[in-house]
């Protein structure tokens, strides 16, 4: 039972990654930007697992697990920042958070 060819998986992964990238680039709410980032990571994960299956070993799956762990921690930090911003009544708009301008 081989299932669909690896090309299909990669196509789905590419669509997910592109969707995520567009979300990061276009949306202004930090929460949505964070969600879009997760979608990009999941696209990458899907590609990793597809390749692992094609190669027939577990390395790609282990990599995907590691990415998930990193993504989880990243979400914790990101959401924490957003909650902190919201508590201080700062506008939740990435275009208005420009303190780092040089």
């Amino acid at each position: 039972m081989r299932g669909p060819d690896v090309t299909w998986y990669l196509a789905v992964a590419g669509v997910l990654f592109a969707t995520g990238s567009l979300g990061v680039l276009l949306r202004r709410s930090p929460l949505i930007v964070l969600l879009s980032l997760e979608i990009m990571l999941n696209g990458a994960n899907l590609a990793l697992i597809a390749f692992a299956r094609q190669q027939g070993d577990a390395e790609g799956q282990i990599f995907a697990l590691a990415v998930m762990a990193v993504a989880a921690s990243e979400v914790v930090v990101g959401l924490g920042l957003i909650v902190a911003l919201a508590r201080r009544n700062v506008a939740l708009d990435v275009d208005k958070l420009t303190t780092l301008r040089g």
Binding site: V33, D95, L97, L100, G102
Partner: protein
């Protein structure tokens, strides 16, 4: 003989360290007593060492003692060693004896000073340094002592560090001495190269084998050091300014001991000087020139201490003449008696200054004879000894030199008579001036016992100190020194004046001295008026024959001009400019790069995405 010498050397060091380390835990009075005590212990030890030496055979009075090897480099080994011989014994006795008296005197003189402890620590340090110098067993230890006395002198001249003039005088003394020290050290380097050792015995043993040029250069270097330390022309300008220090310092360092180190040096190094006859002649010539120059300048000085300072230069000139013509015994003899009567003069002048609350200008003084009767006697004794009147000590020691040097010596005798008694008549003669009446502190009068008693002891020494040697009849002093400083070369043998010649020149010198006193009486004693001299002459003498002006023009102005030019041409634009250039460049660069930071998250994301896309394209296309 050696053990007491070590005690003599180390006691003042212990005193200086104790006063420094105990600081405020001891009273000021105790600091003074500690300092006096340590120098007195050194004197007792020197006396013991001297007696031990007397008990030995005249040929056997030389002993070297090495504590340990101090440093070694290749074949060169230098020990921490001292040399005890008749020459160093004489110096030890003079330094510690006169030193103990002067430090005791300072207890009274420095009584009101808020920094007494520091003063006494410095004084003990000076005595230790001077003993290191005279006891040194090799050239390196000598150099250590030589440098240390320079340091102690610097510290004590600048003792009143709140006065800018004192600080300037201290720096001047240090720099002039550094010039001499440099010459000194160059001579040592040459000796190491040529003889491979720095031990006295080793070097002197090879003195004959040195080539003429090397011997001349070495002797010239040593003479440079001696001239600077002893304030002889041309490195003499620091000594009058050194009078900024407290009076006991002037008495101990700038009259009795340190400034005579040059004389001791020439006597100690005589095998080297004899190997270079031209330098020996130069020594005598410099001495003679200084003796006349300082005598002339002393005639117009108005500061009581500066008059005595110039007379010190003049008397050291006598000693240089003596050691320059090979009469080492006579030079050392005059060194000793000079230490007595010049310390006496300075300390008596100190009583006058102390009684007048710090006034040093002779023009403000007068009529002190009745107000300070004991000081008047002390001063008169010192002055008569200085002018070489019999039977005081100066007569015996100075006449011995005059007998062998004649013209300059006789002219000097006349000058000495005039300038010494000018001081006496102006300060003590006549009626008390208004300034004296106003300032004279009747309550403390001539000062505490510690001051008058020590001056009295020096007065006695100045009277009888000459009795250890009477030309042609009685000469135990010369006999004692003879094994060390006897002339080693026949062709240099001095024209030994016969007894009759001796007495004739003595009579001449005394006559001229008396004539000088007479002139001083006519000009300053009877008339009490300013002398009408041609303005050019007077002006030249008041400016000390323009030596300071000459050195300013030769060294100070060019050096400060070069420094100023470097500051405006190199330091400012090049050094400073490069630093500010680097910093402003970095700042500009930062400002430019800073524009890339827009603060918009999406700009960053786009930049990352674009970057990744470019990388991906590169990877794909390169494959």
């Amino acid at each position: 003989m050696v053990a007491p010498a070590w005690i003599c050397l180390l006691a003042p060091l212990a005193g200086a360290l104790a006063i420094t380390l105990l600081g405020r835990r001891i009273s000021r009075r105790l600091a003074g007593l500690l300092s006096t005590g340590s120098v007195a212990v050194a004197f007792a030890a020197a006396l013991l060492s001297f007696l031990a030496a007397l008990g030995r055979d005249p040929e056997d009075r030389e002993a070297t003692s090495t504590a340990w090897t101090w440093l070694s480099a290749g074949d060169l080994e230098i020990g921490l060693s001292i040399l005890v011989d008749p020459l160093s014994l004489v110096m030890m006795l003079v330094v510690t004896g006169v030193g103990a008296l002067i430090v005791a005197y300072s207890i009274g003189y420095m009584h009101d000073d808020p920094e007494e402890r520091r003063f006494f620590a410095y004084m003990a340090l000076f005595v230790f340094s001077m003993l290191t110098l005279v006891l040194a067993g090799n050239f390196l230890i000598l150099l250590v002592g030589w440098g240390l006395v320079g340091l102690a002198s610097y510290l004590l001249i600048g003792f009143h560090h709140e006065r800018t003039s004192a600080v300037a005088a201290a720096k001047k003394a240090f720099i002039m001495n550094a010039v001499g020290d440099a010459a000194f050290v160059l001579a040592f380097f040459l000796l190491i190269v040529e003889t491979g050792t720095l031990d006295y015995a080793g070097v002197f043993g090879q003195a004959d084998e040195l080539s003429g040029t090397v011997a001349t250069l070495v002797a010239l270097g040593l003479l440079g050091g001696a001239v600077a330390k002893s304030a002889q022309i041309p490195l003499h300008t620091w000594l009058p300014d050194a009078m900024e220090g407290p009076t006991p310092v002037s008495a101990l360092i700038h009259a009795a001991t340190m400034v005579t180190a040059g004389v001791y040096l020439v006597a100690r190094m005589h095998p080297l000087f004899e190997a270079a006859p031209s330098v020996q002649d130069l020594t005598a010539i410099l001495g003679a020139v200084t003796l006349l120059f300082a005598g002339l300048v002393a005639l117009v000085q108005t500061d009581i201490k500066r008059v005595i300072a110039y007379s010190t230069m003049s008397q050291i000139g006598y000693m240089f003449v003596a050691v320059g013509i090979g009469a080492y015994g006579n030079g050392m003899f005059h060194l000793m008696t000079h230490a007595f009567f010049k310390a006496l003069l300075f300390l008596a002048a100190g009583i006058v200054i102390h009684a007048l609350l710090g006034e040093q200008d002779m023009r403000q003084m007068g009529g002190l004879r009745r107000l300070l009767p004991r000081t008047w006697v002390f001063m008169l004794v010192g002055a008569l000894a200085l002018a070489g009147m019999p039977p005081l000590s100066g007569f015996f020691s100075k006449d011995a030199i005059i007998a062998s040097s004649l013209a300059a010596g006789l002219a000097g005798a006349l000058l000495t008579g005039i300038y010494t008694f000018r001081l006496i008549f102006i300060v003590f003669g006549g009626e008390p001036s208004p300034s004296v009446r106003e300032r004279l502190h009747t309550e403390h009068g001539e000062g505490p016992v510690s001051m008058t008693a020590t001056v009295a002891v020096l007065g006695v020494l100045a009277v009888v100190g000459g009795a250890v040697q009477i030309a042609g009849i009685w000469h135990p002093f010369a006999d004692f020194l003879d094994p060390i400083v006897a002339l080693e070369r026949e062709h240099l043998a001095l024209v030994e004046p016969s007894v009759t010649e001796d007495w004739v020149t003595s009579a001449l010198a005394v006559g001229l001295g008396l004539a000088g006193i007479g002139i001083a009486w006519r000009l300053y004693g009877a008339g009490r008026r300013e002398v009408a001299a041609p303005r050019a002459v007077r002006h030249a003498l008041e400016h000390k024959l323009y030596f300071d002006e000459l050195y300013n023009g030769l060294f100070y102005w060019p050096a400060s001009g070069i420094a100023r030019a470097f500051r405006s041409l190199v330091e400012g634009p090049l050094i400073g400019g490069s630093v500010t250039g680097v910093s402003s460049g970095a700042r500009g660069l930062g400002r430019g790069v800073g524009h890339a930071q827009t603060g918009y998250l999406r700009t960053y994301a786009l930049a990352i995405a674009a970057g990744v896309a470019v990388l991906a394209l590169v990877f794909v296309s390169v494959r």
